[in-house]
């Protein structure tokens, strides 16, 4: 029985190779296929589409100037909706369509689900926005790189800001129970406790979409916290900060990258004044960043969206590595990424042993007169 089945499996595998590998091998001679995976529809589409635009812009530029070592770049754009089960389908689709490198994985959860499939196929993955720390730090995914700093770096920065710069000693940590928000909040809590200079007086999760957050705000007030560190996205953040103002609570508000968004200021309006949030370093003085934004305006007629510069840099790093390595072999690509610096909108970057970009960081911003202003 088992012998028979083995034969069958072998036959299936052979059939598989016939249908997939051969045409793939035939095509590699003239194009380099780059898969772009991310949410392109649904409620998180606004986080995924800027990456697609960045990939299109760079691919066009490279192809106009003769390709990578003479090979044209071809994009395979696939939607993951940020759902793990769909992301694995997408990953298999990209692998069977013959993708050689992957730009993407926008959400950490979906990226985590898809990575084993890419690893198995030996594909390089560079994400512009998946910030979950274990993706690089666990060492399980040697094919994974990213052009954004992980959550723990961000939490560390916010905690340092709260304790060292502002001198707070009582901190309430609130999160939205989500993957990103809770992860960030747990790191913040850990760092506050490790610092020994401040204490976490409250650690709570709020339910996104709830009609009213006054009970949590009363609890923050009761705890006597001087500041609230919030992990999550802007809709909940604006509700909480509005409720804090309504309940006459004057603790400050420090949050993460998911909140450092102009929508937060628009929705919370005057209540947002004075709120802090960490976000990627301001790159508007970098000529390459200005150029990247201008290219987006020229091609799409609009201002770029979230993670655009990270995606632009990831795509640059990826194509550059392919040019330097002379192939899309994972080991060669890794070596190129780790040794040859790339000039990107985020600055000149290389990657460390684990896959995090060196030279990419966060800074703290504050809402001043309805605008996010970087604090030096």
């Amino acid at each position: 029985m088992s012998v028979k089945l083995n034969k069958k499996i072998a036959a299936v595998a052979a059939g598989f190779l016939m249908t997939v590998a051969l045409p793939g091998a035939g095509l590699t001679a003239d194009t380099i296929k780059i898969g772009v995976a991310g949410p392109h529809s649904g409620d998180l589409a606004s986080y995924g589409l800027p990456t697609v635009n960045a990939a299109k812009i760079i691919a066009e530029k490279i192809n106009a100037s003769g390709g990578i070592n003479g090979k044209m770049v071809e994009l395979l754009i696939e939607d993951t909706v940020c759902k793990p089960e769909i992301a694995t389908n997408t990953a298999t689709k990209l692998v069977s369509d013959g993708a050689q490198m992957i730009l993407g994985g926008i959400c950490s959860g979906a990226t985590k689900a898809a990575l084993p499939i890419y690893l198995d196929a030996g594909l390089l993955v560079i994400s512009p926005s998946a910030t979950n720390p274990p993706l690089t730090q666990s060492g399980e995914y040697p094919n994974f790189f990213r052009t954004i700093a992980p959550d723990d770096a961000q939490a560390q920065l916010d905690v340092d800001f709260a304790i060292e710069k502002m001198g707070y000693t009582k901190i309430a940590v609130i999160h939205d129970k989500g993957d990103y928000g809770k992860g960030f909040a747990e790191f913040a809590k850990q760092f506050i406790e490790a610092s020994g200079k401040a204490e976490v007086v409250l650690f709570e999760g709020v339910t996104p979409g709830q009609v009213d957050y006054s009970a949590v705000v009363q609890k923050v007030k009761q705890s006597g916290a001087e500041t609230v560190i919030f992990g999550g996205y802007h809709p909940e953040a604006s509700k909480i900060i509005t409720m804090m103002k309504k309940k006459r609570l004057d603790a400050t508000f420090i949050s993460d990258d998911g909140v450092k968004d102009q929508t937060f200021v628009k929705v919370a309006q005057e209540n947002a004044e004075g709120a802090y949030a960490s976000g990627p370093k301001d790159t508007s003085n970098n000529p390459l960043a200005q150029q990247a934004v201008q290219e987006h305006k020229d091609m799409f007629g609009t201002d770029p969206g979230a993670f655009y510069e990270n995606a632009y840099s990831a795509m640059l790093a990826m194509t550059n590595a392919a040019a330097n390595a002379g192939s899309t072999d994972l080991a060669a690509l890794k070596k190129a990424l780790q040794t040859v610096p790339v000039e990107t909108p985020l600055g000149s970057i290389t990657f460390d042993e684990k896959g995090d970009a060196i030279g990419v960081g966060f800074s703290v911003y504050q809402v001043q007169n309805g605008e996010w202003v970087e604090l030096k």
Binding site: S2, L5, N6, I9, A11, V12, A13, G15, F16, T19, V20, S41, G42, D79, V81, K83, P84, E85, T88, N89, T92, K93, V95, S96, D97, S108, G109, K112, A113, P116, I117, D120, A121, N132, E140, K177, G178, D179, K182, G183, E186, G205, K266
Partner: protein
């Protein structure tokens, strides 16, 4: 049918819809920049669309009423659809089954592993639909928290694999039984509840399970989920990714066949007929001496058993799970499958599951309209064809005196 009066009525209805949808469809405001965008083209679409749809709506309603009148006059034989007439003849039936099975077997050889992968997903929904069909279709208990059992199965595999390294085959029965246990756990308190209360309590139960998984980080690793779950083992041989995909696909084909067989037998069993009796009239059913408690609990636990088993397969297939995969939306999709399948019919349920799951996958460009269509389909099905696309045939016992003479 399309008299002047009808047309006039539709025209009025379409005007009403223009008014109704005016603020949402036509106006779009930006309260920050203080701009208003008027999308007048939408008025035209609504006008034409609702005119046509209202004509169709009333035409189908009219047809449905006429049909139900006719059905009562003639026997139900003429009402049977082509598929049923084909299925009644054993020769054709076996042929259809043979072709389907053959297609299922050769499918991985003809297509890429992506196709195989999404087909596996669709097959999983077939089994989930068949499982929920026991509870909703046969026993008539509207269970909106079915996805909780699916989660129980998935997490039991993920956790047992993570902590103790247990393999797929070992956990498969454990996951199924755990889910069945949860089914009984849920079943007990809700035994006394009537239909609507039951629906909301099951919904609450589903939410509780998901919330616990989300918040009890020490137990379930919270919202960041569990990754690196091992794929099903194959007699100790390490399979490559493509082979694993094909392997899971064949497993699912096997599961579907086994499930169809079991559900079919179950339906015709004493228990199955007790469920149908319970669905039709609870009090009469009790008066006939059917143990209500036992029957209901059996429905809950058996339905949950399948969800648990598929949960295990789901965890093994995606190798990563987090609570976001087990929302109410998922429950609604499974419910749509059962409803479209006509709550009781197996063949139709399979077709509906394949269509509902595969169509959005192939029409990714239209995926935004997917949930809109799901909603509309649920309403239209209930209004026009509560018996499903292809109605299941109630077993009838006809008394034929002439046969006795011959025998």
């Amino acid at each position: 049918m399309f008299t002047l009066q009808e047309l006039k009525r539709s025209a009025l209805i379409s005007l009403w819809f223009v008014f109704l949808t005016f603020p949402i469809m036509v106006v779009k405001v930006n309260s920050i920049e203080k701009t208003v965008q008027w999308r007048w083209m939408n008025v035209v679409y609504i006008l034409v669309g609702s005119f046509v749809l209202s004509l169709l709506f009333r035409y189908f309603l009219y047809r449905k009423e006429r049909q139900s009148g006719e059905d009562e006059q003639q026997g139900d034989n003429t009402g049977r659809s082509l598929i049923h007439r084909l299925l009644i003849v054993p020769k054709y039936r076996n042929m259809i089954y043979g072709v389907l099975l053959g297609a299922a077997v050769v499918f991985p050889f003809l297509t890429s592993s992506y196709q195989v992968n999404i087909m596996t997903t669709a097959l999983m929904y077939v089994v989930l639909g068949l499982g929920l069909n026991i509870v909703v279709g046969l026993a008539g208990l509207l269970d909106l928290g079915y996805v909780a059992f699916y989660a129980v199965g998935a997490y039991s595999y993920a956790l047992l694999n993570y902590h103790f390294g247990l393999g797929f085959w070992a956990v498969l029965p454990i996951g199924g039984l755990l889910a069945a246990l949860f089914g009984i756990l849920l079943g007990f308190p809700v035994l006394r509840l009537r239909g609507d209360y039951l629906a909301i309590v099951t919904l609450g139960f589903g939410e509780i399970i998901r919330l616990v998984l989300e918040n009890w980080g020490d137990f379930s690793q919270g919202p960041s989920g569990i990754s690196n779950i091992s794929r099903p083992g194959f007699f100790g041989i390490e399979l490559s990714l493509e082979m694993a995909i094909v392997y899971i696909y064949y497993l699912m084909v096997l599961f579907v066949i086994v499930t169809i067989f079991l559900v079919n037998r179950l339906q015709d069993s004493r228990l199955g007929r007790a469920w149908i009796a319970l669905r039709e009239d609870e009090i009469a059913c009790q008066a006939m001496g059917i143990d209500k408690i036992k029957t209901k609990l059996a429905a809950f636990s058996l339905g949950a058993l399948w969800a648990g088993i598929i949960g295990v397969v789901f965890a093994a297939k995606t190798t990563f799970i987090n609570p976001a995969s087990f929302t109410f939306l998922e429950a609604a999709i499974i419910l749509s499958i059962v409803v479209l399948g006509g709550m009781g019919s197996i063949i139709c349920l399979i077709i509906c599951a394949l269509v509902l799951i595969l169509l959005p996958e192939y029409l990714r460009a239209l995926s935004e309209f997917r949930m809109l269509a799901f909603g509309a389909i649920l309403v239209c099905m209930m209004v026009f064809r509560p018996q499903g696309i292809i109605a299941s045939i109630r077993r009838t016992y006809t008394y034929k005196p002439r046969n006795r003479d011959e025998a």
